[in-house]
């Protein structure tokens, strides 16, 4: 077989042009002139994710850094689900921003292998005080083959089983700690006419969070660890099929809110179901605590939002304290940026990204920042109960599994999301799911 190297930029241009031709309109034609390798001077571009409360925090962070006078960061926000496609296209086209928001794991690995992001190992060794500010565990997802390609930022975001205390009281159940409790709560919620579980199924990674915990509770954290390592036939582990049958049980019990198939996480209707007392439970990332706090009136402030670990399953191997989620947010440095841009970005990484002001703002918004020495700040916060619980869960957990779609390579992750949606629509059996996913291991 012959290898032909075509220039990337022209091919992406060609593809984009063809998209514009064959699609009447779509939002993927390259980014505006900003960013990329052409720019000079002491400014760098930064693409970040929109959505409160983090949007304001990021904006304030950048404003504060720009006022230091050591360089300028141009900030642009994108919606989470759309950003994932946009950033990849931009990187492929050589139009990436200087500072790239990412999630570490498998996606970062593809960027690193294609040398699209800078190796930060040397810089972090020189500036060890920067590295030491962070909690040790967050570096793992930023590391590819012993080299660090991303800076952790923001907050640790384990996935949490939230509940609406008012609704649970009305239907007469406690927060579920076992599978039987959960099924009981679902039944009682349904007969009381409230949605048992809020789920934004159209976004697919939301349904995947259920799979992550179900697989953990059934087979322990090792099952996915083997999958992420790409071991042959690791998806055919009996625990995967068992996980699928648990989903079938949930579907049969009408566990998810009406119309969950068409709800999207970007519009936050799942959170709205919670704070408007229309749903009893919601499995979601820790960041939704802040979202419900800023969007849900006085729901959080009145102490009506409950939280806890995902229930255990009898006979399963996973412990109640095992966690799944995002160890941190990550930002990488584009290899295509000019030296001046890289310099500004590195100064930003050191002096702007995670200052005390930023971690205070994070605590205030209801998240646990990924930097050391936060105990006092957490204890003094309005949300001390929740934050200290998250903090101690993170400290005590025997296993923290990274979100699957971020741990896997992008193509396998997309296949996972497609199959997850099919499973939750009842269009795939657990066995088919396992086989479809196993086929991704060969590639």
């Amino acid at each position: 077989m012959k290898n032909i190297q075509l220039t990337r930029r022209s091919m992406v241009g060609a593809t984009l042009g063809a998209s514009a031709l064959t699609l009447a309109a779509c939002g993927t034609s390259g980014p505006g002139g900003s960013g990329g390798s052409g720019g000079g001077g002491d400014s760098a571009s930064y693409w970040a994710l929109s959505g409160q409360p983090n949007e304001t925090i990021t904006e304030d962070t950048v404003t504060a850094f720009n006022e230091l006078g050591t360089g300028t960061i141009d900030l642009t926000f994108f919606q989470n689900d759309a950003y994932k496609q946009k950033i990849r296209t931009a990187i492929g086209a050589g139009e990436a921003p200087t500072v790239i928001t990412g999630w570490g794991g498998g996606g970062l690995r593809t960027y690193a292998e294609e040398e699209q992001v800078e190796d930060l190992t040397g810089w972090l060794d020189e500036n060890s005080e920067v590295k030491e500010r962070f909690i040790e565990s967050v570096w793992e997802a930023a590391t590819v083959d012993d080299k660090i390609y991303a800076m952790p930022t923001g907050a640790a975001q384990p996935i949490v089983m939230f509940h609406n205390k008012t609704v649970l009281e009305d239907i007469g159940v406690e927060a579920p700690e076992s599978w039987e409790d959960l099924l009981d709560a679902i039944e009682k919620a349904n007969s009381a006419g409230v949605a048992p579980i809020a789920l934004a199924g159209q976004s697919r990674w939301t349904s995947m969070m259920w799979l992550e915990y179900l697989l953990d509770r059934v087979g322990g954290a090792e099952v996915f660890a083997r999958i992420a390592a790409g071991e042959p036939d690791s998806w055919l582990d009996p625990a995967v099929v068992e996980m699928g049958t648990k989903v079938e049980e949930l579907l049969a019990a009408k566990a998810f809110a009406d119309g969950f198939e068409s709800m999207a996480a970007d519009s936050n209707t799942d959170q709205a179901l919670m704070w408007s007392d229309k749903a009893a439970l919601m499995l979601h990332g820790g960041w939704t605590f802040g979202g419900m706090k800023s969007g849900g009136g006085t729901f959080v402030q009145d102490g009506r939002l409950g939280f806890g670990p995902f229930p255990t399953i009898e006979g399963g191997k996973g412990e109640l304290t095992n966690l799944v989620g995002n160890p941190a947010g990550y930002v990488s440095l584009s290899a295509a940026a000019s030296d001046a841009e890289k310099e500004v970005a590195k100064t930003f990484f050191a002096d702007g990204l995670m200052t005390d002001a930023v971690s205070n703002a994070l605590v205030e918004s209801g998240s646990v920042p990924v930097v050391q020495g936060q105990d006092d700040a957490l204890a003094a916060s309005d949300d001390a109960e929740y934050l200290q619980w998250i903090y101690s869960s993170l400290q005590e957990t025997p296993a923290f599994t990274q979100s699957w779609d971020q741990a896997l390579q992008p193509t396998a992750a997309e296949e996972l999301l497609v199959n997850t949606e099919q499973l939750f629509l009842g269009k795939l059996t657990p066995e088919q799911f396992a086989e479809n996913m196993n086929a991704t291991l060969e590639g």
Binding site: A18, L21, T28
Partner: protein
């Protein structure tokens, strides 16, 4: 009934050919004569459009064709892999499902939009003031972008916070976007809502072109309103129908934006039509090679359909529609 035009052409006497592009009425014959001489000015006039077409249509097409024989994840090196992408694209179940769905969509949108557009266009062709007021309202959706329409309808149809839930209307409280059958009802109606105004506008213009004398003659012969519509209006709209249908068919074939924002191809793969499948395969699945194969398939089908619809008009599409007027 239109055969008189072309059959007559060879019979046109020689003298018409002599003056070349002199003045006088542009008959079919004189058009032919023009074609024989290629003037520099003609080339210059066509050049900008030609260049534009070359750079933004032909070049990308060649690029996509080349990419369809490669394997590429979007950021790495492009690897030439022969027919692998093609066999991948043609053996995937989603490709064939997407193709069937898009063909269904073409037929359904045409059946839904064409009769409504013709009726509305005919109605709005009247010059009464209230019709003009209604026309302004009917044309409003044309001012909105697809993304805005999709986001609006998504909120309106939200199963928990949408209009049906708010009004507590039992029959409207359906899982509009979450049920694999109902989602098509919702989609077709929304797409019709967006595009009927455009086609109505075309038909309105065409109906206004029909000479009033034809209707007067029909009235003298005792034809009623309905008879006039079927015997004069509809036949006179033949070429407009072809234009509108071409736009509709090709438009439906490449339809993407509303579905992408509204359902993302879901629930499951229920609305994952081929153009959307192409996008998702390329930009979400990062399989640019396979996506390019799908793009080539779409281009070929689109060209075929456009030519086919044009053919329906017969070879005499340049002939006069107004004989007898």
């Amino acid at each position: 009934m239109t055969s008189a035009g072309p059959a007559a052409i060879p019979a046109v006497p020689e003298r018409h050919r002599a003056p070349g592009h002199g003045g006088g009425p542009a008959s079919a014959t004189s058009v032919r004569v023009h074609k024989q001489r290629l003037h520099l000015s003609h080339v210059l006039f066509a050049l900008p459009a030609l260049l534009f077409f070359l750079v933004f249509a032909i070049l990308p097409l060649i690029g996509v064709l080349a990419l369809s024989f490669t394997s590429w994840n979007g950021i790495g090196a492009i690897e030439f892999t022969g027919l692998t992408s093609w066999t991948d694209a043609l053996t995937r179940e989603t490709t064939w499902r997407g193709l069937l769905l898009v063909l269904f969509m073409i037929v359904a949108t045409w059946l839904l939009q064409t009769p409504l557009s013709i009726l509305l266009g005919t109605f709005l062709a009247g010059q009464q003031r209230y019709r003009n007021v209604l026309a302004v309202m009917y044309f409003l959706p044309m001012l909105l972008s697809s993304a805005a329409i999709a986001i609006t309808f998504k909120s309106l149809l939200d199963p928990n916070f949408g209009v049906p839930a708010g009004l507590e209307l039992e029959f409207l409280q359906q899982n509009w976007l979450g049920d694999s059958t109902l989602v098509w009802v919702a989609l077709l109606v929304i797409i019709a809502w967006q595009f009927i105004p455009f086609h109505t506008l075309i038909y309105q213009g065409a109906v206004r072109q029909i000479p009033q004398t034809m209707y007067e003659a029909a009235q003298i012969d005792g034809a009623g309103r309905v008879r006039q519509f079927f015997s004069i209006t509809l036949p006179q709209l033949k070429y407009t129908l072809i234009t509108s249908s071409t736009l509709m068919v090709v438009g439906a074939l490449t339809y993407f934006d509303i579905i992408f924002v509204l359902t993302q191809g879901g629930p499951g793969k229920s609305t994952r039509i081929l153009p959307l499948d192409m996008y998702l395969t390329g930009f979400r699945g990062n399989e640019m090679g396979v996506a390019s194969s799908l793009a080539v398939i779409l281009v070929v089908i689109g060209l075929g359909l456009a030519l086919g619809v044009q053919r329906l008009g017969g070879k005499s599409s340049s002939a006069s529609q107004l004989e007898g007027a």
